[in-house]
Amino acid sequence: MNGLLRSFGRIWAVFMKETVQIRRDRLTFAVMFGIPIIQLILFGYAINMNPKHLPAALLVEEQTPIVRTMVHSLRTSDYYDFVMQTDDPRKTGDLLARGEVAFVVSVPAGFTRKLVRGEHPQILIEADATDPSAASGAVAFAQTILTDALRHDLKGPLANLTGGPPPFDLVVHQMYNPEAKTSYNIVPGLLGVILTMTLVMMTAIAMTRESEQGTIENLLAMPVKPIEVMLGKILPYVAVGAGQTVLILLAAQVLFDVPFIGSMWILFLGVSVFVLANLALGFTFSTIARTQMQAMQLTFFFFLPSILLSGFMFPFRGMPEWAQTIGEVLPLTHFLRIVRGVMLKDTSLAQLQSPILALCLFTAVAVSVAMLRYRRTLD
């Protein structure tokens, strides 16, 4: 009995000591209460498994009341946001390849005439199936939406067209991924996720380790410039990133049969810029965090939105505008456009200009912040 009481006393002592230490570490405190609330709100509102309002282009070669009715029904269905309407096929040419729209809906010339004659003319929906889940909802409901719309217009002499099968033929092309395999979308994305996680984490502890072990004092007393320290510290991880890339691409090929139809060189360029962006960010974290523990926490709280808001797990275009804006800041968002574009769509360098430039800009900002934050003295 006495022994048990003494044991409780000691448990109480450790409990009190732990409480004092937890309270003293402000960042950990924020991590436990502040950040979960932010994440709850952020991800709760941003993530949408059944995305609506996806950007689409409309190629209509004739304007008739029936075509207008059909287009109107698609527009009001919430699934399609027509960002462009044209009658010139050349204009919709590479919109899908550049990822600017998720669908191109085409109504050919002579559609109405054939419909009236009961010849079952075709409506074509080309969907960007690099992200099969993004495309599936809109495609699945297209048939119903269009058929319902027509029911009102087909009256009088045309009423006989409404009874049986739909009077038109909806053809869906799942572009770039005809079998709608999820692995085509996930595996290239994983390359970006894995690089983000490992590289940011490894460089995030680069400077905090020196601070924690006291070796920073020695480093600062020696004639080495901040940018030299930074480059020297992140360059070994460029090799790590290269190794990981080779490994994942091999696995994509051998284990998952993911096609690689684009240029290896463009991907190489994209990976290089992406790796540098992550390393620069990790180094920046290590100039902000005071302990290795804090550095790991920062990494973790960068990693979560990277996965959830970049378009890796959930369709990017399916998120609300503000969430997309946050997503645009994340390097992974841009890298996903590059890696999926090159591997699945054979996207050209010119078409990938903006994501590559975005990654360069991100790197430049991260390096600048790191240099501003780098401690040149022990103050």
Binding site: Q213, G214, T215, I216, E217, N218, L220, A221, M222, P223, V224, K225, R376, T377, L378, D379
Partner: protein
């Protein structure tokens, strides 16, 4: 003028927030000498050394180190200075050789392998060069650190309590090395708590509460304290200490081994005190005042810590 000085600083002040660590220190240290930097813990020694070698920004004051401005030319000063930190701050997860190679590369020393080989040879660590530096004992760590910070042949060596926690023999060896380096032309500023080490310096600077209390050669510092010291030996001396301490004219009483030192400025007053507390088995004799006695008196004179604390 500053060409003759290795360190020439005026009115150095360092504040951390509302706390003043160093409150106006002047040092004019000629090249080629070995100076001791003394003072109790928290007196501002480390902070002053760090300001001199550019590791801390100066809050107030100006100065030059080896002819370079300490506020603006820190990179140049780093090239020419060797700074040994109080806490061992080499990489414990790297071997002795890897640490030395890293330092040699940073300073772009020619003949890397040969230089490192020679350094290891001089250190006597050739056979242990592939051990992790973290596995070394305290004394060896300090010798490794000294070797590493002197490899680039600096003009000025700043050593911050290099012998703290090191055994007596290793301390002696370490000081032989310091004098050897001094003969090679290096200027050495070394902070310490050991009086025997202070006595091996050309000059000493004594800090208390962030201010310079006194500076000079060891005998001068003792003379300037104006103290007389009597040494009492014998079985019963311990019983007298408390009583004598409170007598007028006695400034302080301290044990030196089994003997008791009684110091004060007024010879007659001390004699009265000692006569009053006579004991049969205790014999008194006047001795040379030690540096430690002088410092204890100096600290007492310096009085309360006047620096503002948060």
């Amino acid at each position: 003028m500053s060409g003759d000085y290795a360190i020439d600083v005026h009115g150095l002040v360092k504040r951390f927030g509302s706390k003043t660590a160093v409150a106006g220190v002047d040092i004019q240290m000629p090249r080629g000498e070995v100076w001791g930097f003394l003072g109790p813990n928290g007196s501002g020694k480390t902070t002053t050394i760090r300001m001199i070698c550019g590791l801390l920004r100066v809050s107030e004051g100006t100065g030059q180190c080896l002819g370079y401005d300490i506020q603006h030319d820190a990179p140049r000063i780093r090239e020419l200075t060797g700074y040994m930190t109080q806490k061992f701050s080499f990489w414990t997860d790297m071997t002795i050789r890897e640490n030395l190679e890293f330092v040699a590369r940073l300073y772009r020393l020619p003949h890397l392998h040969q230089t490192v080989d020679e350094t290891l040879e001089t250190l006597g660590l050739t056979h242990r060069q592939h051990q992790l530096s973290g596995a070394l004992s305290g004394g060896w760590k300090q010798r490794l650190a000294l070797a590493a910070v002197t490899m680039h042949d600096p003009k000025l060596l700043l050593l911050d309590e290099p012998t703290a926690g090191v055994d007596p023999q290793a301390r002696r060896d370490f000081w032989d090395e310091i004098h050897h380096l001094s003969l090679l032309g290096m200027t050495v500023l070394v902070s310490t708590h050991y009086m025997d080490e202070a006595e091996r310096c050309d000059r000493i600077v004594y800090l208390a509460h962030g201010e310079k209390i006194i500076e000079g050669r060891v005998p001068d510092v003792i003379d300037r304290s104006g103290l007389l010291t009597f040494r009492g030996e014998g079985e019963g001396v311990r019983r007298l200490a408390d009583a004598i301490k409170d007598e007028p004219g006695v400034e302080h009483v301290a044990y030196f081994g089994s003997a008791l030192h009684v110091s004060g400025k007024d010879r007659a007053a001390i004699q009265v005190a000692l006569d009053k507390h006579q004991a049969q088995d205790v014999s008194w004799s006047e001795v040379r005042t030690s540096l430690e006695d002088a410092f204890i008196a100096l600290s007492a004179e310096a009085g309360e810590d006047k620096r503002v604390h948060a």
